[in-house]
Subunit: 258 residues, 2 copies
């Protein structure tokens, strides 16, 4: 944790972070999360979770490893094949990749739905405004007129015409209980998480072990690349992806990379 403090906390705008800094991505991530906390978008605990993620990213080598790229391509194919894909947004996701999530939603024609662990009307509104500032035209999650079964009341709130009826959901940085409950609903779940041993990637059909700031733009890129693909080509991308292999490759990289 010590190397951390050597980075100035006094950058006001992310443009001030030099792009050639060896820890550019990490600085950018911390800056966006800190801004998120200050704006009331991100819960204070999100800062802690992000720090935890950054340690795993450090061990991964802070790059998209080949198995993660394959997972991202499979994610894109799933989203393009879906009848009703939904991208779930929590406080960290909103702080880190608001514009990137809007772009992905556009590329695969998905809904954006806010879904918070620590849900308050103020945070819901702040995040909806933040997403709209980044180009979102429709934001779900505020109705909360349905419930995920087998999950305690507060965390179970979803929109009936959003996550509740979605067939494919992208749940980045999701907690294990909720990831499991969504999986039990029979949804195809794409989880983005830097710890391959977490419960969320373990239960996901597509575990993406990568930093969300790299993963989301890369899924979008694959989606654009596959935009004109036939259904059977998309299905073959989906089938070629091996989730166990991807989880093992990430774990191996974390071990050996150190």
């Amino acid at each position: 944790m010590s190397e951390y403090d050597t980075i100035s906390a006094e950058v006001d705008h992310e443009e001030e972070i030099p792009e050639d800094h060896p820890r550019y991505q990490d600085l950018l991530t911390r800056h966006r999360i800190e801004n998120g906390v200050e704006k009331g978008i991100t819960h204070l605990q999100g800062m802690h979770a992000e720090g935890r993620g950054s340690a795993f990213d450090y061990l991964l080598g802070e790059e998209t490893i080949p198995s993660a790229d394959e997972a991202e391509r499979a994610a894109a194919a799933h989203l393009l094949l879906a009848d009703h894909p939904v991208l779930s947004i929590n406080g960290n996701v909103a702080a880190l990749v608001p514009g990137e999530m809007v772009e992905l939603a556009d590329a695969v024609d998905a809904d954006l739905e806010i879904n918070l662990f620590n849900r308050t009307p103020e945070r819901m509104q702040a995040i909806a405004d933040h997403l709209r500032d980044h180009g979102a035209t429709a934001v779900k999650g505020l109705e909360a007129d349905a419930r995920i079964p087998n999950l305690d009341h507060k965390r179970a709130k979803v929109d009936a015409d959003g996550i509740y009826e979605a067939d494919v959901v992208v749940v980045p940085l999701e907690d294990g209980d909720r990831a499991e409950a969504l999986e039990e609903m029979g949804k195809t779940e794409i989880v983005i998480d830097l710890n391959p041993l977490s419960r969320s990637p373990q239960v996901a059909e597509v575990p993406v072990v990568d930093n969300i700031i790299r993963a989301v733009p890369n899924i979008t890129e694959h989606a654009r690349d596959l935009a004109d693909a036939e259904t059977d080509e998309l299905q073959s991308v989906v089938e070629q992806f091996d989730r166990e292999e991807a989880l093992e490759a990430a774990e191996k990289r974390i071990r050996d990379g150190l």
Copy 2:
């Protein structure tokens, strides 16, 4: 990072965290850091640094490994042998182990000195008050009438009769630049840090790769155990400790433990 969110953020007092919870130490740590941020003791970045540390602790198995226990015994011996030992306190240390640092200072007759990366008069005062609430009678660092050489002005501030003239310093969760500058001043440095590859433990005479909430009470325990030891016994504890071996053992545990 996902497992993280499954823990309620709504615990008001640490007594509410069940001691038999499998992640008790982690919950306690997060709770104290969050409280620290809310009280103005801990910088928001401290929450991130702590999250990063917690990932390494998870990989270590969340326990004091044998090489860390040896480092903690060597730290106790160094402190007992010192002419003028000083324990350095930053925002995370103050939030996590205020009472434990006061106890260690008592056990080895050391000074407590506040030394912040993001120094403001308000934070200095809040931390001094917090330490006094936890039993400290004297707190250094507010004078700031000396400078650590070869370090930029703001981070270099120390007390002339504190860290500046200390022979042995305990610097937990310290940034690499400052750890290096203190080492260059010829001080015997005891660093507590969960990442064995960080620059701070790499430059320290005694790198303690352990969670501070376990490390500090254990150093105190060793100090009490060694309180009546002769100088040559203390020196032999110091000499038996092998810093390279300790760093390697920690790295190996992080790798294999996963």
